[in-house]
Amino acid sequence: MFLINCPYCGERDQQEFKAGGEAHIERPKQPTELSDDEWAEYLFMRKNIKGVQFERWNHAHGCRKWFNMARDTSNDEIKAIYKIGEKPPTQ
């Protein structure tokens, strides 16, 4: 059970949160311009990394805010938590 440091509320138990999949996948601004393959790339293709993965999380039973997390999937270590719109940490 993770202890997640919500950027708006502070440390809370994982059960207050909902995971939202891979982060930094921007919705295309002009979907109609895309081929089926390009659209499918946006719609379906997700990475499943062993190692540091950037993910979206939502403090569903708290402030309802979405934020991003860098998590090492091999040991569940949370490397960083940062707000939506902020760049992922490089380290």
Partner: protein, 1001 residues
């Protein structure tokens, strides 16, 4: 029977408090402080059960939670009986009843014991290999297997006990209250850290507390005496909470641990009453100190499982702690010095030790001299090749071990005994450590897995960290604590330590016998009856991964998770396969460390507290009027209102007719309501719904369909424009929370530039939905001032009015196809407005109806229910709802997906109506639809999604999804059922009032 093996009294046992208990129907006596195991041994009973596969007689092996054999059934004659309890952990109390498991008809004469002689037929993977063929025989096999095997019987009635949960947050959690744990907890608490100390036993002090070795001294006192004083002082320390009888079951990431606190199991029956039996502690600790100790290893040799064969450390605990001799003719068998301590302990208490068999060539430990002085014979370089005694060990045969340890030589010596203590070294209890995700490293020299590294949040101290000698333990503990707790000094910086040191150890995972291995039974996993032979067989058959060998041989898969024999299994695999143990890795230790009752896991969340449920403000009225309820998500919704003697079918038929003929009323309070405000609210709705919203006039309502980005229908509902920048959206009852979450997601992550605010107001409003041709008259009685003419208040519009000073939002919208008004009031007025409608409607025979009638009425009109007629694979086009998809809008959620080659396919499954040839036959929802009856394999075209008998049309109607259904209008299809094939015709989805005239009726 008398307690003929009770020896000199122990300070841990209260001999003034005699307790009677029953085992296998007979009454015995023990003392307060005894476990069931110690009391049985005091009564000279070792045989307590039968093994799982071969039904071999088995006795008590250990004195703790690692016990593999002494598994008993508590309260065997009660329907709240409890299986798989360890006799070594049950503290006896007046009235305790327990019985052996795994034996039939009795532990002394067990039919299944024949399996023992058939053992060659029961090798590893036996069940997989044998009982699978022929397949049709499985049921017969199953009966046989279930009857002769099995671990106890489960209770068959509701658990009457009370269980509880508690959340604990602490600075430091110390697991295990042996000498290391006590010193660690004491120093943490003294440094103002909120500290919690847990131990699974009822006494603090671990194994040091009953230590009798005169060579182990702390500050010139016996280590045990010194520790007792320390324990006495603990109660004066602030910030320290101590819990005994509390076993840590699980250690999850981020220092989240679950522990079971046992509160009443040791109490007399009458004292247990109305008390919480067990409590699950949910602990979040800033730092965790693991002081879980070590488990003694058995030795693996031929017939090493007879009753009376025990761990040497257990024999010591029974004598020193419980004051019980495990036998009158004791022998020890060892590969290290610790058995000598046990032997000396017995000798000093006047208990006869016949001999010590040591596989080593010699040892220069000080204690050897004491053994020699005591006149106890030591057989160096010898091993046990066989044991005798069916229900209790009676003798052993020993032979000289070859230099390389793989064979035996010389002549066989037989020595009689009634108890054999085995000492195979120590295994650090790293179970919790690995559960936390931390990695182990293998110490080849000492043949143990130890923690790889301490972290800022977790350390392992004492023997679970690989420190076994007193001076090592204290010195390392002192050093580690200072770093971990960031403190300059501890209160044992200048402690004086004296102790003997373990000299040599000779490790042989599988000891040889004079017989070939095929003829021997060297048990590795006692509980699951897995032998070294089985492991070797698995390797011969090609298994290599330790995880596979484990599952194939079932080694380590019992309720004890192989706490005793897992290391030997690894060792034998490594030796046989010629690899290093460190490279082999270990199997995964999974929670719980010891079994938990279901009661503890669920705590108070049973019965009506199993899940939270939501009730509408009109709920009391529904109950008073005998509504039957249906669960919709967490909501309790009125399902139907049966009158005296009415079946559900009759009630629903009556309600459905009344709603169309005169007036009906539905509690629609559960519909999700989202308040949407902001200058970009219209633009936002444009993006989330498939249809256009910019031109919706203030005071008007519109139905909207929401898709997922993949183009599939996600939710639907009516949204009303209250003012320029203010909308109220309704969602399905079940979808409310998810829709809000999804909309928030888009707002926060994709379109943060939009000025829109969402608020869930589902619980803020109660909704009474008035419907039927007389609904206008009823509403007029309630609000005479409001002009209800179609010109002033047309379909799909909204008015805000006052009823008795209560602000109401009235929407003229319809989910039944009838003239219909939804009256929304602040929740606290819900029941009042409902009552008002009922009163006003009396003269029109207003009929309350529930969800079932609502479903029927909308099906007559072909209105979909998201989640019933759709399943996440239906586009609006599939639903024949093309009319709601805007062609003009550049984008909305899911739009692009509607133009994918797959979603554009013409022959997707599409929503159609179905009419049965016989109008009285009602199809089953979920039934499959085919076009050919004689074709094999038959192609499934789709399935029935909604089906009812329509009282208003006097015939059966159904909605279905059918492949290429759009092009099948009028086609005859079949619904094959178990006993008959039902002929159906594809029809329009709208069965009733196709021209929508009744909305303005």
């Amino acid at each position: 029977m008398t307690q003929n093996l009770r020896i000199k009294s122990s300070e841990f046992i209260d001999e003034t408090n005699r307790i009677s208990f029953k085992f296998d129907g007979k009454t015995y006596y023990g003392f307060k402080g005894d476990t069931l195991a110690s009391a049985l041994i005091a009564n000279n009973i070792h045989l307590v059960g039968r093994s799982f596969k071969y039904h071999r007689p088995r006795g008590i092996m250990t004195s703790g939670s690692e016990e593999p054999n002494a598994i008993v059934q508590i309260n065997p004659n009660s329907n709240i009986t409890e299986p798989n309890a360890r006799a070594t952990e049950i503290e006896i109390y007046e009235g305790l009843e327990a019985s052996s498991q795994n034996c039939w008809p009795s532990v002394n004469f067990d039919i299944g014991g024949i399996n023992n002689f058939l053992a060659p037929l029961f090798p590893a993977g036996f069940y997989y290999k044998t009982f699978m063929w022929p397949k049709s025989f499985w049921e017969k096999y199953e009966f046989l297997i279930r009857h002769s095997a099995g671990l106890g019987k489960s209770p068959n009635t509701r658990d009457p006990d009370i269980y509880d949960h508690r959340n604990i947050h602490c600075d430091v959690l110390v697991v295990g209250a042996g000498i290391s744990g006590i010193l660690a907890a004491r120093n943490a608490a003294k440094n103002n850290l909120k500290t919690l100390l847990l131990d699974e036993k009822n006494e603090l002090g671990g194994s040091t507390i009953f230590e009798a070795n005169e060579d182990n001294k702390i500050n010139n006192n016996l280590a045990s005496e010194w520790l007792k004083k320390e324990i006495n002082e603990l109660k004066n320390i602030k910030n320290l909470e101590i819990k005994t009888r509390t076993s840590v079951a699980a250690y999850h990431q981020y220092n989240y641990l679950l522990a079971r606190e046992n509160l009443t199991d040791h109490l007399n029956k009458k004292d247990k009453k109305n008390k919480i039996r067990q409590r699950l502690l949910k602990i979040r600790a800033k730092k965790v100190i693991l002081a879980t100790g070590a488990l003694e290893r058995p030795l693996i040799f031929n017939n090493n499982d007879r009753p009376g064969i025990m761990l040497s450390s257990a024999i010591k605990k029974y004598s020193n702690f419980y004051g019980v001799a495990c036998g009158t003719k004791n022998i020890f068998f060892t590969n290290n010095d610790s058995a000598y301590e046990s032997a000396l302990s017995l000798h000093n208490k006047g208990i006869n030790v016949e001999a010590i068999i040591d596989i080593r060539e010699n040892s220069d430990a000080k204690i050897i001299k004491k053994i020699n002085d005591a006149g106890i014979k030591i057989y160096w370089s010898h091993t046990i090749v066989d044991t005798r005694g069916y229900k209790r060990i009676s003798s052993i045969s020993i032979m000289r071990l070859s230099n390389d340890g793989t064979s035996v030589t010389g002549s066989k010596i037989s020595i009689s005994c009634d108890c054999l203590g085995i000492a195979g070294g120590w295994t650090p209890a790293v179970h919790l450590y690995t559960q936390s995700g931390s990695k182990l490293t293998f110490d080849e020299e000492r043949k143990i897995f130890i923690p790889k590294a301490d972290t800022k949040e977790q350390i392992s101290v004492g023997s679970c960290g690989g420190d076994f000698e007193l001076d090592e333990i204290i010195t390392n503990l002192n050093y580690k604590l200072k770093n971990f707790l960031n403190i300059d000094k501890t209160d044992f910086d200048s402690i004086a330590l004296e102790n003997d040191h373990e000299t040599s150890k000779r490790n042989i995972w599988l000891l040889p016998s004079d017989q070939s291995i095929g003829k021997t039974k060297p048990f590795v996993d006692y509980q699951n009856d897995a032998t070294a032979k089985d492991i070797k067989l698995a390797l011969r058959e090609g298994f290599r991964s330790i995880e596979h060998v484990k599952r194939y041989t079932t080694t380590g898969m019992g309720t004890d998770q192989g706490k005793l024999g897992n290391m030997h299994a690894l060792g034998i695999i490594a030796d046989t396969a010629g690899v290093k143990m460190g490279e082999l890795g270990t199997t995964t230790f999974r929670p719980p460390y010891t079994p938990l009752t279901f009661g503890t896991i669920v705590g108070r969340n049973v019965g009506e507290f199993f899940d939270t449920f939501r009730r509408t403000p009109m709920n009391d009225w529904h109950i008073k009027n005998k509504a039957e309820f249906e669960n919709v998500g967490q909501w309790k919704r009125s399902w139907y209102y049966p009158k005296e003697g009415e079946t559900m079918y009759q009630a629903v038929q009556r309600e459905s007719k009344a709603a169309r003929q005169s007036a009906g009323i539905l509690d629609a309070s559960t519909l999700g309501k989202i308040d949407i405000q902001g200058s970009d609210a219209s633009e936002f709705l444009n993006r989330v719904y498939t249809n256009a919203w910019s031109k919706l006039a203030i005071g008007k309502c519109r139905y909207g369909l929401m898709l997922n980005e993949d183009g599939m229908v996600y939710d639907d509902g009516v949204t009303t424009r209250l003012s320029e920048n203010h909308y109220i959206m309704t969602t399905t009852t079940g979808g409310a929370a998810n829709v809000l979450g999804k909309l928030e997601d888009y707002l926060q992550t994709e379109w943060p530039e939009l000025d829109v605010y969402l608020t869930s107001v589902t619980d803020h409003f109660a909704t009474a939905s008035l419907c039927g041709p007389n609904s206008k008259k009823i509403l007029n009685k309630i609000i005479p001032d409001l002009d209800l003419s179609d010109d002033n208040f047309p379909h799909m519009s909204f008015r805000e009015v006052l009823i008795d000073k209560i602000k109401c939002r009235i929407m003229r919208i319809s989910f039944t196809g009838e003239l219909s008004y939804e009256i929304n009031v602040p929740a606290s007025y819900g029941e009042a407005i409902w009552q008002k409608c009922i009163e006003a409607g009396k003269e029109f025979n207003i009929t309350p109806y529930g969800t079932e009638t609502m479903h029927l009425l909308r099906a007559e009109k072909g209105f979909i229910i998201v989640g019933q007629d759709t399943d996440g694979t239906m586009t609006p086009i599939d639903l024949q709802m093309d009319w709601i998809v805007s062609k003009k809008k550049y984008d909305f959620i899911g739009k692009r997906s509607l133009y994918r080659s797959d979603t554009m396919k013409q022959d997707r499954k599409q929503l159609v109506g179905l009419l049965t040839e016989d109008p009285n036959i009602v199809l089953e929802e979920g039934a499959q639809i085919v076009s050919e009856l004689n074709q094999k394999p038959v192609e499934m075209l789709g399935h029935v999604t909604s089906s009812y008998f329509s009282p208003n049309l006097n015939k059966s109607i159904a909605l279905a999804v059918v492949k290429d259904g759009k092009n099948m209008m009028g086609r005859k299809l079949f619904v094959p059922m178990e006993n008959k094939n039902i002929s159906v015709t594809v029809a329009n989805t709208v069965f009733y009032d196709e021209k929508n005239e009744r909305i303005n009726a």
